[in-house]
Amino acid sequence: MEIGPYILLASLEGAVTAAVLALTAVGLSLVFGVMRVVNIAHGEFFMLGAVLAWWVANTVGGHPAIGFAAALIVAPVLVGVLAALADMTILKRLNYDPERTIVATIGLLYILQQLTLMTYGPDARPVEAPFNQRIALPWIEHTEAGWQMYYPWGLSTTSYKLAVIGAAAAVLAGVWAMMARTRIGLLMRATQADREMALAFGIPVEKVYALVFGIGAGLAALAAVLIVPIQQAHYLMGADPLLLSFIVVIIGGLGSLPGTVVAALLIGLSDGIISVFFSPTLAKILATLLVGLVLVFRPRGLFGTRAP
């Protein structure tokens, strides 16, 4: 393959990564923006989404599409409820003190991870995609006979991958609409802007917090359900999404939703292309150093305008 089709293939794979990453990171960003807490257990909510998707798809049986559709609804809702419960029983009692919350969510991370290990086991298990047609992509090349369209070997994607990109975009639009157009979004934004004033105006801040924490975790779980037919469900799969979401949220500006989506596209697309040129470990080293340095020198993030 020449370099052109190769880059196209890398960007298509990157777009799938970016779509899933944007969902996960928006969940993290929402929680950080509204509640001002850093949720280290976010990656484990992602993992739980994938594991529950496997469980639901296996329980339902029948055509893969039925199981998958059920998982698409059940897994995020279950994870969201679980997260809201964790918020009400643990985080609320810590008064959302940033440092103690981090320690508590680290504890939560180990609890979720190890409980999954004890029940689901150490194996990686696949979920069948609801539909999965291979789509060959054409490429235009200049030959002696002029411009010609042909199908290079290996340049292809699947209908499912395209659907993931579409679904992620739809959900993101939904989140935006919820924040900008609905009453509950208004309450969230009011809480984000000034917690005390919101309380004074009779907004049930604690319920808003529980809801936001639940939605944040639910988004991560939804992202995991979408990716699980491409990757497999495994009890340690939460680490990478957590790291990448952090990178995205920090580069996109802490708590800024549009910035988060832009950064997710940037990171997701460049991740696919960078790993063509560097070894994955080196790419990860560069990425973590980048996050550290951005936080040191641009604490508001590359696109952020407000102080965190």
């Binding site: 850093v38 643990i90 810590l94 981090i102 320690v103 504890g107 004890m118 973590t288 550290g292 604490p299």
Partner: protein, 315 residues
């Protein structure tokens, strides 16, 4: 010597005497465990200086522990050093790494500080994996008995190992006790309580925090180097996030900002995990539950609770 000072010296000296004597009484299994706990407690003591006394919560101390361990291990394995200079190399590596990270990370505060330390430690861990040709990555490498002869003393022998661990722990404990009762340590505690006020009183808070981080990192590196040398194994897992979380756990459990807390926490946690790993492979579950329960109900830790209830002057 005031009465309080005498009591403090009696308590901490008493623990050291107890640990010294324990060597002759304990059965072999617990004897080996205690040697390990004392090295890990030294790591926790280093962590406590930054977290407990200065109020800076680092999530990247595994970087310093690993710097010490690899400074020592690579020095022996590839530099052909004997253990004494190798230990020194490990400690120096820890001092350099913690100094460099402090210069960067101390530009941030609060949550950003935690994430910056976490990210740099993760980069350090990945770097160990990346140079797998030298470090042998996750698999790690074993130091042979012949490479572990410190001044003619065989450190792989359990008795010698116990005394080496005891010496390290006693040094760290005394250093930490002296440090937090010295004017320098008082300033650190004042920074933890109210940095702006300390600054207004004319102290250079940045220099104090920098020094605290380098001291903390150097002690952690000494513990890392000793751990590798005493137990003969150097591996990348000691640089992973888990080893940044563990000292935090020990210190929280024992009591942040207390001299004895790190040891009590490490002892308690070690046996908790030791007992539970007999029941299940998912022993980190215990660590998670303990973390959550501690942050909820006993943010002061065991020794911290003692101090609150019985002895206000406990350092």
């Amino acid at each position: 010597m005031s009465r309080d000072t005498a009591r403090i010296l009696a308590l901490h000296g008493g623990l050291l005497v107890l640990l010294f004597v324990a060597q002759f009484v304990l059965p072999a299994y617990h004897h080996g465990n205690l040697a390990r706990i004392m090295v890990l407690a030294s790591y926790a003591i280093g962590y406590n200086i930054l977290f407990g006394y200065t109020g800076l919560l680092s999530l990247g101390h595994a970087l310093f522990f690993a710097a010490g361990m690899y400074g020592m291990g690579l020095g022996i394995q590839h530099g052909g050093l004997s253990p004494a200079p190798a230990l020194l190399a490990g400690v120096v590596a820890g001092a350099v790494v913690s100094g460099a990270l402090a210069l960067l990370a101390l530009r941030t505060t609060g949550v950003a500080f935690m994430i910056v330390t976490l990210m740099f430690a993760q980069a350090g861990y990945l770097t160990i994996l990346y140079f797998g040709d030298y470090t042998r990555g996750d698999e790690g490498f074993v130091l042979q008995t012949a490479q572990r002869m410190l001044w003619g003393i065989d450190l792989s022998d359990p008795t010698n190992r116990y005394f080496a661990a005891f010496t390290l722990f006693a040094l760290c404990l005394c250093l930490s006790l002296w440090l937090v009762r010295a004017p320098f340590g008082r300033v650190l505690v004042a920074i933890r309580e109210n940095e702006d006020r300390v600054q207004m009183l004319g102290y250079d808070t940045h220099a104090h925090k920098l020094a605290a981080m380098v001291i903390s990192g150097t002690i952690s590196a000494a513990a890392g180097a000793a751990y590798g040398l005493l137990f003969g194994y150097v591996g990348a897992s000691f640089g992973s996030v888990q080893y940044s979380i563990l000292p935090l756990l020990w210190v929280l459990l024992g009591g942040a900002g207390t001299v004895l807390g790190p040891f009590i926490g490490a002892l308690f946690m070690f046996y908790l995990i030791d007992l539970s790993s007999g029941l299940t492979a998912a022993y980190m579950l215990i660590a998670g539950v303990v973390l959550v329960v501690l942050t909820l109900f006993a943010p002061q830790g065991l020794v911290g609770e003692l101090r609150r209830r019985f002895w206000k002057g406990l350092p």
